[in-house]
Amino acid sequence: MELEKKIEAILFFKGEPVSIKKLEEILKVPNEEIVEAIHLLNNNLTNRGIALLQNDNHITLGTSPELTNLIEDLQKEELNRDLSKASLETLSIILYKNGASRAEIDYIRGVNSSFTLRALSVRGLVEKTIDEKDNRRYVYKPSFDTLSFMGIKSVEELPDYEEVSNSVNAAAKSFEEEIKKQE
């Protein structure tokens, strides 16, 4: 049976995000094959009731964003869609930079963001993880819940993602030194 079907079954069984690394272990195939199979699976799932979400080397299955109202009626829990201006700004930085340290967020917003970050963490909208590039610092990354609430399958589907992310990264380079000083 093809690899993409195995991956689909694993994701369905787990019902939560699975890392690509974990899939390599379970299926005992090299990274490139997994990546290729994920690509095929994503194509298979286009225009279906189930969608494939990708975020930070993890993938998971969810219901198609077109069916929001149908599924929302099925669940009893109330959804909180309110975000303060501070939260929206902070979340936008984390989304469009696809992960940002607290120092970077503070620097861009010009104010201390620690309470906003805690509030976003508690709501599961951002995740604090150790920076892969520098394990002495943390980065806040967008969570799958955030992608879900935005109705997108990956950050690349954010409005104006490429354009914004390019200009932001270009600008951020010149600030790197200064942000480092603040850490």
Partner: protein, 261 residues
């Protein structure tokens, strides 16, 4: 008037960039030294009404104010020589403000999309392989009465109770006070020494002097604000109880980042 007061508060919490960007946009200007110079008075007068903010928050407003003062001084006194560092600060503020503008714009897009189309994760379930449905109980030796107590205590202990104000910010506030003093002196001296530079078109010398004197008065107000802020920092504990923060959040309708995200 009431509407105006409300705006001060709202803009207030959004931080110095929110305030500054709002002022620039209100005049339909682009971000550059000319527009920043044009809104400096507005910025300072808003800032002086933010007296009840925490020292840490005031300090972030003051940091920006100090750069605005440089820009303004330069526009009033073109022969004022800025150091490389001062010129760097000005460019840096412009760049940061442009960056903030990008995210401020995107955050409106995020707001309008958030929760409109939702991808739902499956409900909690006990999915089994084909045909299997078993009810399981799989404990772990780590679960004991005592370990559970320890874990509960640790979880409670890890909840944030204190906010540490970075010493860096305190130091910056103090140096800004010094800077404003220096700047005041510099402007006063320039005023005495360089009357020849006040021959702008359409603006009389007297008018220019009125502007500068008013500006100096404003500087004095800002300096006083910094003195208040730093005294509070010097005499007070630099740890703030979390409860206090929440109360402050409660008092200011716009400051709802902790409770109303």
């Amino acid at each position: 008037m009431e509407n105006n007061l409300f705006q001060i508060k709202t803009v207030g919490f959004e931080g110095p960039f929110g305030l500054l960007l709002g002022l620039v946009e209100k005049r339909k200007l682009f971000i550059n030294d000319v527009s920043l110079s044009a809104v400096t008075e507005d910025y300072l007068s808003y800032m002086n009404k933010l007296g009840d903010l925490r020292p840490a928050e005031v300090s972030s407003f003051i940091l920006v104010a100090s750069t605005l003062l440089l820009i303004k001084s330069k526009s009033l006194l073109p022969n004022l020589d800025l150091t490389n560092k001062e010129e760097g600060d000005i460019r840096n503020l412009e760049d940061r403000l442009r960056l903030y503008e990008i995210f401020s714009k995107q955050s409106l897009l995020v707001k309008s999309n958030f929760g409109k189309r939702i991808i739902f994760a499956p409900l909690e379930r006990k999915v089994q392989a084909w045909g299997h449905t078993t009810l399981v109980f799989l404990p772990d030796d780590q679960i004991t009465k005592d370990s559970m107590m320890t874990f509960a205590r640790n979880a409670l202990g890890a909840m944030p109770k204190k906010l540490y104000l970075q010493e860096v910010e305190v130091r910056q506030v103090i140096s800004i006070e010094e800077m404003i003093d220096k700047l005041t002196d510099r402007i006063k001296n320039s005023l005495k020494m360089n009357f020849t530079h006040f021959s702008g078109k359409g603006v009389t010398r007297e008018e220019k002097i009125v502007v500068i004197v008013g500006f100096l008065a404003m500087l004095e107000l800002v300096r006083q604000g910094i003195v208040d802020a730093t005294q509070e920092i010097d005499s007070g504990d630099i740890f703030i109880e979390r409860q206090e923060i929440i109360e402050i959040v409660d008092e200011l309708p716009a400051m709802t980042n902790a409770s109303n995200i």
